[in-house]
């Protein structure tokens, strides 16, 4: 998929109609991410139940299409997973966006993998990888109750 197709797909799918945008009313975990050089920022909210399953997840933020679409796709996939599953999916995604040719996690359905793979075009643009990964690192930070703002810029 070339970049234009990538843009077309993610803009149509998530830029115009982002999933889970807003603030989960009864969230019990959250974290912020900010790339000041880019101007991308994201705030991830989680509602975990007693079994550490993500009952609800949402995000607020602003930034480029890649960072917003990535956050939107992420929240879609993570809803309903437990913490360990979610963290494995994050690892899998980060591995794919950096070097791995495909996604391996057993916690992802085939159609979910296809959705995520549409972000793989970003690989050709190392300077844009940080846009795609910001919300994912922020999600981990929310799980771990880290207070420090996440950055994926150097």
């Amino acid at each position: 998929m070339n970049l234009k197709e990538l843009y077309q797909e993610i803009i149509l799918e998530h830029g115009k109609n982002p999933r889970n945008l807003g603030k989960t009313v009864d969230f019990n975990k959250d974290a912020k991410g900010n790339n000041p050089l880019c101007g991308d920022n994201v705030h991830v909210y989680l509602k975990l139940n007693g079994q550490k399953i993500v009952e609800d997840i949402s995000f607020e933020g602003s930034g480029c299409a890649i960072s917003m679409a990535s956050a939107s796709i992420m929240t879609d996939l993570i809803k309903g997973k437990n913490e360990n599953e979610a963290k494995e999916i994050v690892e899998d995604f980060l591995g794919m966006i950096k070097e791995n040719p495909e996604l391996k996690s057993e916690y992802l359905q085939e159609d979910e993998k296809t959705k995520l793979m549409c972000l793989s075009g970003v690989k050709q643009y190392p300077m844009r990888v940080k846009c795609a990964t910001l919300s994912w690192h922020t999600l981990v930070s929310a799980f771990d109750d880290k207070k420090k703002e996440v950055k994926t810029e150097n």
Partner: protein
């Protein structure tokens, strides 16, 4: 040399960039290099190489002469009074650090004030910021007006009895504003204030005459002047360069070194410690000759035509918002596209072979003032044509299509 044929002198335009012809609109960031400059670097390394200013063998003497020839060429190009007022540095950033550091060591006192503008890029702010910490110096900002310009009146308003230095850009790398630096210098000197000009964008595009301008320091970035990277020039008035202390210590800048005392060399060696960017200096002579062969007036006219054309084109394009409409505008077209992040614009334009910059262009204060995190910037050089700007506009239209903009 005819300006219409200038692209032929730059080998990079023979390359296909991702199967596209290159439309290079990022010269404010760094310019492309003419063949003569690249060839000179190759020739020096393969046929003429030696270190300069030290050994007495044939190659050393010949290399030293080439190195000093560039100094003379720069002196002539900017009409400095004395060859020793030309100091080579590793870039304009180092030139500005040199000035801030040495003024801080010898001249500025606690409580003194430095006046800069909101237009400054980080190289002309951060070096002065260091003095806030070490010397308790205060930095004041002359404000940018709605045209993206800083007026003489605004500068005058911000001068206080404690202002010791005014450090300003010649040409804004975001709004394109050309500042009235001669008038500012006259005003400053009438109040005994030192004037430091950041000429990163001024030197490649405007006529320079240090004696007429009369500023105390002028910093130049050679890689933006069709020259090599890793090289800058600091012009400094002789009286200042003689009075101020050395910036870095090492070989080449000393006269006599004893266990209990060290004396420093004469100008310009005093400020050129260690082995310098020799090949770059020598090749930079070719950049100057190249620009002279076109003629600075012709360069200015050509780029002014391009800016006017580009401005009209983009103004007509719905959803494009140009940043800055100063009366005197250099070859910079910064813009935003409603609802599209500048990084997305740049990435999409890149697919069409159109190279622009997106980000804050090392001017966070300016972007904060405009209340935007970043902008997209197309900037021109001598090799650009109206056709390049048409392609920019077409590519912006592609981008709008992708984002469903009208």
């Amino acid at each position: 040399m005819k300006i219409e044929n200038i692209k032929n002198e730059f080998p990079i335009f023979d390359e296909k960039i991702q199967n596209n012809d290159l439309v290079y609109l990022d010269s404010a960031n760094s310019s492309q290099k003419p063949k003569v400059v690249a060839d000179k670097i190759n020739e020096f390394y393969t046929k003429q190489f030696s270190n300069v200013g030290r050994s007495v063998h044939y190659l050393a003497v010949a290399a030293t002469n080439l190195y000093e020839n560039t100094r003379s060429s720069v002196q002539k190009y900017i009409n400095a009074k004395d060859k020793n007022e030309i100091v080579f540095t590793k870039g304009a950033t180092e030139a500005l650090n040199l000035v801030a550091n040495t003024l801080g060591q010898n001249y500025l006192k606690e409580g003194d004030e430095i006046l800069i503008t909101e237009l400054e890029h980080h190289s002309n702010y951060v070096p002065w910021h260091f003095l806030r910490k070490s010397k308790n110096i205060k930095i004041n900002f002359a404000e940018m007006n709605e045209n993206g310009d800083v007026s003489l009146e605004e500068i005058e308003k911000k001068i206080t009895p404690k202002t010791k230095v005014i450090a300003i850009t010649h040409l804004s790398n975001v709004t394109g504003a050309i500042l009235p630096i001669k008038e500012i210098t006259d005003l400053a000197h009438s109040k005994g204030i030192i004037v430091v000009i950041d000429g990163c964008q001024g030197a490649p595009h405007l006529k320079l005459d240090m004696q007429d301008l009369d500023c105390d320091f002028y910093a130049i970035s050679c890689h933006k002047m069709y020259g090599p990277t890793g090289l800058g020039v600091l012009y400094g008035k002789k009286k200042w360069l003689e009075e101020l202390p050395p910036y870095q210590g090492g070989g080449g800048m000393i006269r006599e070194v004893k266990k209990d005392s060290i004396s420093y060399g004469e100008l310009p060696n005093k400020y050129e410690a260690g082995t310098m960017a020799t090949a770059q200096v020598i090749a930079f002579d070719e950049s100057i000759k190249f620009m002279e062969s076109i003629g600075v007036e012709n360069i200015m006219q050509h780029e002014a035509d391009l800016v006017e054309y580009g401005q009209e084109l983009l103004q007509k394009n719905n959803s494009v918002k140009l940043i800055g409409s100063p009366k005197n505008k250099g070859g910079v077209l910064s813009f935003t596209l409603e609802g599209v992040h500048p990084h997305d614009i740049a990435t999409i334009l890149d697919e069409d072979g159109v190279a622009i910059r997106a980000g804050h262009h090392c001017c966070q204060i300016l972007h904060d003032k405009l209340n935007i995190p970043a902008s997209a910037r197309a900037s021109v050089g001598i090799y650009n044509t109206k056709d390049d700007l048409d392609k920019l506009n077409d590519s912006i239209n592609n981008c709008k299509k992708i984002f469903n903009l009208k």
